[in-house]
Symmetry: D3
Subunit: 129 residues, 6 copies
């Protein structure tokens, strides 16, 4: 089974990331994902840096919209872990059951129409080239 690095087992390098997660998210809890990838510190550092920046910093997209985009990909790829954690994050950021229902309806629709476009080998309209 996947080892999860506890605070006690964490090297200084890992501890620094755990500390930054705690500070940035204002919580003491470290998700299993971080404890799992802590086995390979460069992956932990790079992944956290990017999640923190891309998902967490104020930018052109609303934080909730970012979570919904992330969920759309995770459902399409069947990543249950990512779906579970980011659904929770989306709810925290204001996603209602109605919004989740619509999100999944669109994900379903896109997965279907993607295959219709592929299956019928539809040529791209000149105006969309």
């Amino acid at each position: 089974m996947t080892p999860l690095i506890s605070d006690e087992q964490a090297s200084d390098r890992v501890k620094a990331v755990f500390d930054d997660i705690r500070k940035t998210r204002n919580t003491d809890y470290i998700n299993n994902l971080w404890r799992a990838i802590a086995v390979h510190p460069p992956t932990l550092e790079r992944t956290w840096e990017r999640v923190k920046t891309i998902m967490g910093q104020p930018s052109a997209l609303d934080p909730l919209v970012k979570e919904m985009i992330y969920i759309a990909v995770s459902v399409t790829n069947n990543c249950e872990y990512c779906l579970a954690t980011h659904s929770a994050a989306a709810v925290t950021k204001g996603m209602t059951p109605e919004m989740m229902g619509e999100l999944l309806a669109i994900v379903g629709l896109a997965n279907e129409t993607n295959r219709l476009a592929i299956g019928y080998r539809v040529p791209i309209d000149e105006r969309f080239q």
Copy 2:
């Protein structure tokens, strides 16, 4: 190659959908997707009905957010046709290059972290069950 049903070739059943697309979208142009799936009228009717309702009707999610969710799925599935048409739709609804850049960054990040979660076989935290 895929036959594209012209207005002249359209049966009454197909014509009715083409008319509704024109009226709903307030344009004379019918995208190739509709002309291709018109080969199978039940698919044309059902698909248009759902696209019209899910993507087009006022609802809990913003129209632009819906397009971005649709794009996230289409990029993950590598459907170039859907990507091309819905990117154009998203721009019409206000997506700036900066927003598209962020959208693709999140799609890339999610596709990556999905595989980290899968590859490390990370168990779902009790609190996210």
Copy 3:
């Protein structure tokens, strides 16, 4: 670009497979797939052997049904080459446009409902365990 092995370039090992394809399919034409993978003779031999047996030999499933299953996978994976060649094969074996229309409708539906089942994290009913 992908080199396609011509009859003149074919080694004896490759020629033997090409001959068997011609005899089995009763045609002089060798599809590009075989000419491409002929670059690696063991792959050519193994792949032809299995296609010949699984797709070509009389068995519990009807030859046309086999082609439709093959197409369902190829559309889901977005393999345009496989879709093009096996659609042609299916037509030869009796697939009507109506049947192709239904096939793609089911492929679209399954790709959608797969994501609904995944997105809602539906637990498997005891009776289907």
Copy 4:
């Protein structure tokens, strides 16, 4: 965890779909999928309507063939829920273990040869354009 809407919790709108499922399938049992997506009634209605029509109505394709196409997609996408329920449905409609064995062999073969065609970047033969 995913809430499953019981008969008691069902709104009139949901109850109407549950009733139609029971009548159409001639059984009292409602699969978890329907109870899960009942959280979002429009998705429940639309999905049931299409499953009922596409999978359930007499048409150009045999009911068992439809199930096998559905299974081919579900295996390719790794949707265990869909695989479990539609395998059961296929058995009810006459699928023997031998047929299931062949179905999975074709699904495996297509998933393999899809990647050979992609990996060798095989150009589509003029005759299959």
Copy 5:
């Protein structure tokens, strides 16, 4: 649930494959995969033959490299069974935790950059055609 064919239930045809697995791998243990696909003897025979040849015979690629390529695909497809068994095989062949960490980092990176190339619809450079 999936029936697993025990030694007692094995037909002569299945037994012959089980014997060859034991001899080739120099172990008495038969993985569940083989016991599951033994339900369909032709699939068992063909799959074992190819795994034995492609993964097991001395060739241009190092045995550990082969396992890592296999893992890269299995993570991308989210096949937990394949990931679990081939990770164990890779460790036996010398994969260190550091190497596994790098392998997963590359799998994550490729899954990300694949979507950037697709999402930006990057045209292939003339020199890479």
Copy 6:
């Protein structure tokens, strides 16, 4: 179509990355991927930083092995751009046609057996948990 940022159009931020690519790779040529994602400088910077580090720095895995893992993912995801560029990179690093043939054979095999394991719903052996 995708705009490709020329040297003349490059902002200072983009120019800095282009310069580093040229220096690191010891070539004047900048691949289209970099010119495309230069539209969104943070994505350009982050992606180049990681490609440079993960793929380019001396580490536990051989440079050619890294390219082959990258190709395995790109073929599975059907990313033609990534396949074309990384195949060229792999050849530069010593990949022979024989090695490419084996690589694709393994990618095909894994994509097949992944679906057999999924389709038969094979339970993970206790020893591989």
